[in-house]
Symmetry: C2
Subunit: 478 residues, 2 copies
């Protein structure tokens, strides 16, 4: 397929909703409502035999009645009606159709036959099929979501996403929103009858908008084809893969012809890694990896300079850095002394890690200490622990939650990175999300947004920080 | 030490604060202020050579001037003044003193000598020492916290806690509050010069208030003594241990005389398990374990009946159940058919797991499906996934966040457990904690509180659910 066809399907300017309805409790009504609510920027053409006006838009009895080009047509009609509608779309010259409904091969032989019929119609017309039985496309550039997520972010970003689960795609979209991870386009492929994982990996490999790829994978159509595409894509940009269906108990797709890879998590992780891609453990871990790749292109790790308030956090940083193969190297006597002068005398300790004594030390101390550590040649990146809860809760008690520590720290981190090439990662643990203290969580979420927007990945725990950083460093290792 | 001395120290009715001050920026002022703010229920006697009134309370020039018994005295004075103060406490017949300040063996030989002097004074008077260099006692029964946490829960509970980190104890207290885990008494032992881990394990083993023990451990004074006490305590109640300082990079205490255990996480986990205790990976994981032990006494696991909305959640449950050695056994045709009748036709699947089609299916469907699964003899417990975010966010958009699904589900779970002895665990993942959607997080926190209060542990992820349940089942395995 030439690139312009992909462009028309993933960034459609003119969209038809076949089976559109005024009733938003009906499938076709709900999807049209979602598309409008989310603020799709292109033109929408409702199609319904009754014509007239649907949800305030002029409706057409058939797609062939729509004036001019249609890029993408969404079929919200029952499965058995899709071949006829696809046929009309083909005659119209639509670039792609998306069949949202279930009722195809996943329900048995009759559904499988219907699915093949649909595919044959698409082939005949040179038209592409997304799905069936998937949520289709979320495309922030044009403000389109066919997924049931009216609160997805409208901001486009560098991550292309492929999902064999519609719900999983929604989770990834929302998790991304909360973690500052933004998408170029997200495709929920459903049954993957036509457009599926391997093709999308090749598409994303060549797509300039997409710098990082994430995917949720259950089965693959052809193991060799999939791994070739995975290797190709991972050779030019990071690809993070969450594989579901690893257990003997679960149903799973076969990989290749032997099924030999359809085994344990460790086996799959190894296979993914050997293709040059990055394995993820679950959806939050996947999105954490995407965030880290988004913030830290080219990160190769090595020695961490750690700043943390309190002995436990320092011990923990050493433990998890070790566990994931990072050094927390000693620093020079001069640096140690310089940092000592910044710290309060009680409960602090200079060196590496720097014990800041207090879980929420002021940037007046943190910033010069960060700068001093970053000057050490054996330190390649910085990790800062901030237990924002303690600060925010204290502020809440004193009547005002306004905290701008993160502005100063992010600014200093940017300066250090620009000058020395040494990035910062944050550990911002959840300490207490009690209903009575819930406002405090908002402060943490705000700080996280600011940090990530400034290229500083934020993790919920030390374990996830070093685990994710390890995988990023492994990807970029020469 | 006889039990009444512990009682006086951990549940003091009459408390002296030595070095108390009106200035809450000073150490002695801050601690007195915290104790008052938290709502300590006993009598407080500020001690300061100036006498007069401090923070509205009558102050005494020396502790010996206080009329009547004093159970516990908190020394907030600088390290070098502690021996004289301890001497006066000994003469007064105080049961225990707690030295909050640093400046002892952790700062070098002079500090170590001071620490030994303090210990000798305590021994001479038959008085016990907590610390120095620790946060001491948090005791919800009497409303006391010496830790800087005025928002700790006031509710006592079944968990005794020992920490070699003051900050770690605070984290555990707050994490417990947000997860519905409550404490009998929490002791931050600091340098552990007198009262330390092994003694506290023996104390908690015999303590009727304490049904479960949690601990954060860095080093131990005597490896044999520690492991004997750990084995003893774990033989009568669950003990969950988080070991910090596992890396070659970190400073760590030695275990026994050989240091042979001072190795990897896996090595320590094995040693802890061989003592019959339960290893934890980090503080949130530790508190999750405490929550699960609190909710599920006697849980031995076996076969899980899983209910989840969406294919990904079903696949994930099978994967993580397998990974941690649980079965998700098939159910009878009759049960499958009964559940099928409850479900919406599109996107659902009966069996085990039950795919509820929708991440937030109504209790009208969930409750009878739970009951049907629980009747199957090969199912020993239930796991329900609720992606509350999707429901709560929809409610928020529609103008009202009131959701009471958890009330119905918790009630049904209680009935199933009472009738069939089969408990429920919840997976309540964070989907999106965006600043703009932050109210939604509150709904999740409220649901979690309600569930845990009804004996239903709630986990953030499938991985943590099955990982924690595995350890609980291992503890109770005959």
């Amino acid at each position: 397929m030439d690139a312009s066809a992909y462009e028309r399907i993933f960034y459609p300017r003119r969209l038809a909703v076949i089976g559109a309805s005024d009733n938003i409790l009906k499938f076709g009504g709900m999807f049209l409502h979602t598309i409008k609510s989310h603020g799709y920027e292109g033109e929408i053409f409702p199609v319904n035999p009754k014509g007239g006006t649907i949800q305030g838009l002029k409706a057409y009895a058939t797609i062939e009645d729509v004036p001019g080009l249609v890029d993408l047509a969404v079929l919200t009609v029952p499965a058995e009606q899709t071949p006829a509608m696809a046929e009309a779309c083909g005659r119209k010259g639509v670039a792609g159709i998306e069949a949202l409904t279930a009722g195809f091969r996943e329900v048995g032989p009759a559904g499988a036959a219907l699915e093949q019929e649909l595919l044959a119609i698409c082939h005949k017309h040179g038209m592409r099929l997304i799905g069936p039985n998937g949520f289709g496309v979320y495309s922030p550039t044009v403000g389109l979501t066919l997924m049931p997520g009216v609160d997805f972010s409208r901001r486009p970003g560098p991550v292309g996403f492929i999902s064999q689960s519609g719900g999983g795609a929604c989770d990834a979209a929302y998790l991304g929103r909360s973690r500052g991870v933004y998408y170029s386009v997200m495709v929920s492929i459903g049954n993957g009858t036509d457009i599926e994982s391997a093709e999308l990996l090749r598409y994303f490999a060549a797509d300039d908008r997409t710098k990082i790829v994430g995917m949720y994978l259950e089965g693959v159509r052809d193991g060799r084809e999939f791994f070739d595409a995975l290797r190709l894509c991972a050779s030019v940009k990071p690809v993070v893969v969450l594989k579901g269906g690893l257990s003997d108990q679960g149903e799973r797709g076969t990989v290749g012809h032997t099924g030999s890879l359809a085994g344990t998590r460790a086996g799959w992780d190894a296979a993914i890694a050997s293709a040059g891609a990055t394995p993820a453990a679950d959806m939050p871990d996947l999105v954490d990896c995407l965030m880290a790749f988004q913030c830290l292109p080219g990160f190769t790790g090595g020695g961490a300079g750690v700043l943390a308030g309190g002995g436990l956090r320092c011990v923990e940083s050493l433990d998890w850095a070790s566990e994931f193969g990072f050094a927390v190297p000693p620093v020079s006597e001069a640096t140690t002394e310089a940092v000592r002068k910044l710290l309060p005398p009680a409960g602090s300790r200079p060196g590496n890690p720097v014990d800041l004594a207090n879980p929420v030390m002021s940037p007046k101390v943190i910033v010069p200490a960060m700068r001093a550590l970053a000057e050490e040649p054996q330190i390649n990146f910085l990790v800062l622990y901030q237990m924002l809860f303690y600060l925010l809760n204290e502020m809440r008690r004193m009547g005002g939650l306004k905290v701008e520590y993160h502005l100063e720290i992010a600014e200093a981190a940017r300066e250090v990175r620009a000058r020395l090439g040494k990035p910062l990662a944050l550990v911002l643990p959840e300490v207490c999300s009690d209903p009575e203290l819930w406002e405090v969580e908002r402060g943490r979420a705000e700080a996280r947004h600011h940090y990530v927007a400034n290229g500083i990945p934020c993790f919920d725990s030390s374990r996830s920080a070093f685990s994710v950083l390890r995988r990023v460093a492994d990807y970029y290792r020469p």
